[in-house]
């Protein structure tokens, strides 16, 4: 079932919803990779992504504050 789904995602049939998603800009290789994982592994990846984005956001905020400080001094 999973193999068939992955095959469909990686080789979308013209006119299919999968093809439409590709056209829309969805990275179907990402979906195919996620399908290989267990639900628990998918959650672990989501949690990791949250941490990473949060860290990036905090770093960006710190950098903006530093820039403002340097501009004003």
């Amino acid at each position: 079932m999973k193999e068939k789904a992955i095959e469909k995602l990686l080789n979308p049939m013209p006119g299919s919803k999968i093809a439409a998603a590709k056209e829309f800009g969805i990275d179907l290789t990402l979906l195919a990779r996620k399908l290989k994982l267990t639900p628990e592994q998918r959650l672990e990846e989501l949690q990791q992504a949250m941490y990473s984005f949060d860290e990036l956001r905090r770093e960006a905020e710190k950098s903006r504050k530093n820039d403002r400080h340097q501009t004003s001094t």
């Binding site: 999968i18 998603a21 996620k34 628990e40 959650l43 989501l46 949690q47 949250m50």
Partner: protein
């Protein structure tokens, strides 16, 4: 940002009747969508409200967006007096919905859910079909943007 595991484990340990919906459910179905909160649809039966209160109390829930000095009581009466809630907790944001647009209440969500095993517990997760219905009904840009991905996943898993 939500710490997913402790939230789900706390609810499962208290046998709370709920269906995982929203971004976490979307992710469980293999989407690459990133979310920062946990959304779930809950049964509004009295016994279940009691279980929710006990399960989430250690995380000190408060209504999101209200000033910190305003009093808030985390009890059954509070949950009884509303349908949908957005909470901030010590482990992150949790949205609890008694009614989901395009789906209905907990019993309707349960019919449209699939079972998934996580952290040694079995959870009800809104199906791709259910998520598509909910996202279409919500109709906001951020909901509609997820539809092509969900529809592609749904089609890929069809026989």
């Amino acid at each position: 940002m939500i710490d997913i595991r402790p939230a789900l484990e706390a609810l499962a340990k208290r046998d709370v009747d709920f269906v995982i919906i929203g971004g976490v459910a979307i992710n469980l179905h293999s989407s690459a969508y990133v979310t920062y909160d946990l959304d779930f649809c809950f049964s509004r039966k009295r016994e279940n409200l009691k279980r929710i209160i006990e399960a989430l109390a250690p995380f000190k829930p408060r209504l999101r967006g209200i000033p910190g000095d305003l009093p808030f009581i985390w009890d059954e009466q509070t949950l009884k007096s509303g349908t949908n809630f957005t909470f901030e907790t010590t482990i992150g944001d949790i949205d609890m919905l008694g009614e989901v647009a395009g789906i209905g209440d907990f019993s309707n969500a349960l019919v449209l859910s699939v079972k998934m095993k996580l952290f040694g517990f079995e959870f009800d997760v809104l199906s791709i079909e259910g998520l598509i219905k909910a996202k279409r009904a919500a109709g906001r840009t951020k909901d509609l943007l997820v539809l092509p991905e969900l529809e592609a996943l749904q089609e890929s898993l069809e026989d």
